[in-house]
């Protein structure tokens, strides 16, 4: 197991270095573009060249890449062109905000998804199963930008009971979290529910469950003690993947509600070529993607003895 962990972590670092290199080449491959981004559209060619030389961007790209990696480890993420202050001043706040949104959504979404998935999978083909399946397929197929408008129409314009934006301008307000969490949960729970349902349905057809039923054990006991534990192994990986989606896939929801999170920061940086912010966000997104994947793999191996002992 330790060997597996070391191998996985080594692979994770290697992937991150390669992706970071690609990210760096795309953003900083052409020093003139960086100068343009920093000095603005009206800067003259001489000013651009002077900036490139003054800031050492005339050196080889590989040297700059490793320097950049070194700076990231030292916590220096560069200076934002839009915000006119160090990226690290904004970045961690925004990441924290998204962490709150993602965390709340994650807990609610996973609880709903697992409950509905198990309920559906217990009796495959029943009315209960069909109702839950159709509902989760519908919600998953409605993109966030559409459900955001739809829910705002109902709860803000029609009923007038919820705030229409979530910019938290006067400090943290849990009520402002309701609509973004609602939108994200509505979109995200269906996938986990469907995977849980499939896994549950498969477990319910296995001989040991049939034996338990024939043995006369109470149905509730069979589900909770015997079926559920095995049925949750497969959705585990899907759940881990959702963490990745919750960090970098919330752009649309944050945009729709003016939520000051990581996704909105990345979107604005991308639209306005704020390269140091793009790089910081890119590295963070890659880290979360690779890290959750690694944890997912390790967890799956731990939970599933068949893989562990192979």
């Amino acid at each position: 197991m330790i060997q597996l962990i070391v191998r996985r972590v080594g692979m994770m670092i290697l992937i991150m270095l390669v992706v970071a290199l690609l990210l760096f080449l795309i953003n900083e491959g052409d020093p003139t573009l960086i100068a343009r981004s920093v000095l603005g559209p009206y800067a003259q060619a001489e000013q651009l060249n002077a900036w490139v030389i003054e800031n050492g961007y005339d050196r080889s790209v590989i040297v700059r890449y490793f320097e950049w990696i070194g700076r990231i480890f030292a916590g220096d993420l560069g200076e934002s062109v839009i915000y006119k202050r160090p990226v690290s001043d904004i970045f961690w706040d925004r990441l924290g905000n998204t962490g709150i949104l993602a965390g709340v959504t994650f807990v609610i979404m996973v609880l709903i998804a697992l409950t509905l998935g198990v309920l559906a999978g217990m009796k495959e083909g029943s009315l209960q199963d069909r109702t839950i399946s159709v509902f989760s397929i519908i919600t998953t197929s409605i993109p966030e930008y559409a459900s955001a408008v739809f829910l705002v129409g109902i709860f803000v314009f029609w009923l007038g009971i919820l705030p229409g934006t979530s910019s938290m301008t006067s400090g943290f307000d849990p009520v402002q979290m309701i609509l973004p969490v609602f939108v994200l949960t509505l979109y995200g729970f269906g996938y986990i529910a469907r995977m849980t349902r499939a896994s549950m349905a498969e477990v319910m057809t296995t001989p040991y469950i049939r034996t338990a039923v024939l043995k006369g054990l109470p149905y509730r006991h069979i589900i909770l003690k015997h079926a559920l534990r095995n049925a949750l192994i497969a959705p585990f990986t899907v759940i881990m993947l959702q963490i990745n989606w919750l960090l970098s896939g919330v752009v649309v929801t944050e945009f729709a509600f003016g939520y000051k999170g990581f996704g909105a920061l990345l979107l604005e940086a991308a639209l306005r070529r704020d390269i140091f912010v793009i790089e910081a966000c890119g590295v963070a997104a890659v880290f979360v993607a690779v890290f959750t994947q690694t944890v997912g793999d390790l967890g799956y191996t731990y939970l599933n003895p068949r893989i562990r002992f192979k």
Partner: protein, 575 residues
């Protein structure tokens, strides 16, 4: 010191009492202006504007207009009919952008935050009339080449320094220094020359301090719109130490003559302005003004208003008017403006360096259809010369008609008898109606063999290429006079000349028009300016658009300025 005789009337000439009654001692042209109003040659609004520009006191201007029969005194204080209540916080949804150097502001939003701290020599009101502000009056020489501004006394900066001519001189000299990179270099072309190195800079002795509260501007050519030019978003007057004794960064050094201080400022999040002292110019009812940034999604702005998280919107998108109308506690404020979008060609880039091709494209446009379909008819049709019907000097040219046969013939002459595919860059910088306008024009041009590809890009990306793209759809804001935008955008060599237009005949015609005070005469001269632009087909321009804002009904005195400039000194909160 320059000879100031030009500023006053010839002392040898006797001024009749009747002329004096009509303001002849303020400016020799005022009696003539009064006569024009009386005989109906100019309308009330033109009279108000012209008389104020020539230095007549605001109260006198309105009283004179009433007396001469130009209409009833409809333009009064917006709060006159109700007793304003002092206090409270006004919350506005608006993008909060960086706010470094007012001289290089390129967005009204930046100026809106700054305007509560730094102020202007003049102020153009929502009715398009320019009135005194930091300057309490001004005078122009008869040849409009020398302008003297008299500054209010007793105004102090928030750091305790007295406001004097030195501040104005410092500010204007910064604009005229090419190193500042201010668009004012184009706006104040009459104070600018091209140096031996080919770079534009202020002319020698352009700014002359007469005394602590009098400043004179010496122009190389006549300029009519000096007072109005002093109320543009990059023309706020900054403290004399700005960019000299301390860094040119207003958000870091928020020193101003206004009543408000910058309590909190976070780009992309909020700007909190708090009243720190009494306003020198009179009552300012609000205690605080908060600008909250809800991002780029216009649905979020309206949702913020709907859930009463804010009291007003910087701008109500056209697409959201119906949603806002459905809210019983919301007022919608419309302003007819000279805001527009121009489908401008960069005439130095192939294939748009081909005049016949440009003319062929322009001939395909049905302006009214684009206005009706892309903007629900909220506005007026334009005529491809960037002078609006609401501009005083607008001259009507023969109406433009879509003519496909003419377009085909021009296309053949241009060497594209088999048709051509051209690409227009569009960033929807003012809303999705811009894409709709492009799409409708694409359909209109197709029968002539002109296939238009729409290169849709994010708004911010468009602003990186707005002055480089061979063909692009650029939004231009409202300006009070037609000559103002022509000088900013189409005079050879000015920074915002996105068309790369360089036509000495046009520059000469524009100089001539800018130097003509008489509206009737100026209108005649504008015929040439407009005709040259139309004939050169550099800017197919579908329409002029109205702009809208929305506010909660508890906000009183709220209005829409044609340029979306916030003027909150008359705004108060009821409950």
């Amino acid at each position: 010191m320059k000879d100031r005789k030009v500023l006053s009337r010839d002392p040898r000439r006797y001024t009749l009492p009747s002329e004096r009654a009509l303001g002849a001692e303020t400016h020799s042209y005022l009696p003539e202006l009064c006569d024009q109003l009386k005989t109906g040659k100019i309308n009330r609004r033109d009279f108000l504007r012209q008389a104020a520009l020539l230095g007549m006191a605001t109260g006198t201007v309105y009283a004179m207009a009433d007396k001469l029969g130009g209409g009833s005194g409809i333009i009064g204080s917006a709060v006159a009919d109700e007793m304003p209540k002092a206090g409270g916080t006004l919350r506005i949804s608006m993008r909060v952008q960086e706010m470094t150097d007012p001289a290089s502001f390129d967005w009204s939003e930046k100026a809106n935050v700054a305007r509560l701290m730094v102020e202007y020599l003049t102020r153009t009101k929502s009715d398009n009339v320019t009135v005194p502000y930091l300057a309490h009056k001004w005078e122009a020489s008869d040849d409009l080449k020398t302008w003297v501004f008299h500054l209010n006394q007793g105004i102090t900066w928030s750091n305790g320094d007295a406001f004097t001519s030195a501040d104005v001189a410092h500010t204007v000299n910064r604009w005229l220094d090419p190193a500042t990179g201010s668009s004012n270099l184009g706006l104040f072309g009459a104070m600018v020359e091209v140096g031996e190195d080919g770079q534009k800079r202020g002319i020698a002795n352009a700014v002359e301090v007469i005394d602590d509260h009098t400043i004179q501007f010496n122009l190389k050519q006549a300029a009519l719109a000096m007072p109005e030019n002093f109320y543009n978003y990059p023309t706020a007057i900054v403290h004399r130490g700005f960019g000299a004794d301390y860094e040119a960064d207003l958000s870091a050094n928020p020193i101003g003559t206004g009543a408000f201080e910058l309590a909190e400022f976070a780009i992309g999040e909020k700007a909190i302005l708090r009243k720190a002292r009494d306003w020198w110019a009179g009552p300012f009812y609000l205690d605080e003004v908060h600008y909250y940034d809800h991002g780029e999604d216009t649905n979020a702005w309206v949702a913020a208003l709907a859930s009463q998280q804010v009291d007003g919107l910087f701008r109500l998108p056209n697409s959201a008017i119906e949603a806002a109308q459905a809210l019983p506690f919301v007022d919608i404020h419309e302003a007819t403006t000279a805001q527009t979008g121009v489908m401008r060609f960069r005439v130095t880039e192939a294939p748009f360096d081909n005049l016949k091709l440009r003319q062929a494209v322009a001939a395909c446009m049905d302006h009214d259809e684009i206005l009706q379909k892309a903007f629900k008819g909220y506005g007026q049709i334009a005529e491809n010369h960037h002078v609006c019907q609401i501009h005083p000097e607008y001259a009507a040219l023969p109406p433009l008609k879509r003519d496909i046969e003419k377009a085909k013939a021009l296309l053949a002459e241009a060497g594209y008898a088999d048709g051509i595919t051209i690409e227009i860059a569009n960033g929807d910088t003012e809303g999705p109606w811009m894409t709709d306008a492009c799409a409708i024009f694409k359909n209109q041009a197709a029968p002539a063999g002109i296939n238009i590809d729409i290169n849709k890009m994010p708004a911010n990306q468009y602003w990186e290429v707005w002055d480089k793209a061979p063909w692009g759809y650029t939004a231009w804001t409202h300006r009070a006079l037609g000559t103002m935008v022509l000088g900013l955008a189409y005079r050879a060599g000015v920074p915002w000349n996105e068309v790369a237009y360089d036509n000495p005949a046009f520059d000469a015609a524009l100089d001539d028009a800018e130097g003509t005070l008489d509206v009737e005469e100026r209108r005649k001269k504008m015929v040439l300016c407009e005709q040259i632009l139309q004939d050169d087909a550099i800017i197919p321009q579908p329409f002029w658009r109205s702009v809208f804002r929305a506010s909660n009904k508890r906000v009183k005195g709220f209005s829409t300025h044609p340029t979306l400039y916030d003027q909150f000194h008359e705004v108060w909160l009821d409950g």
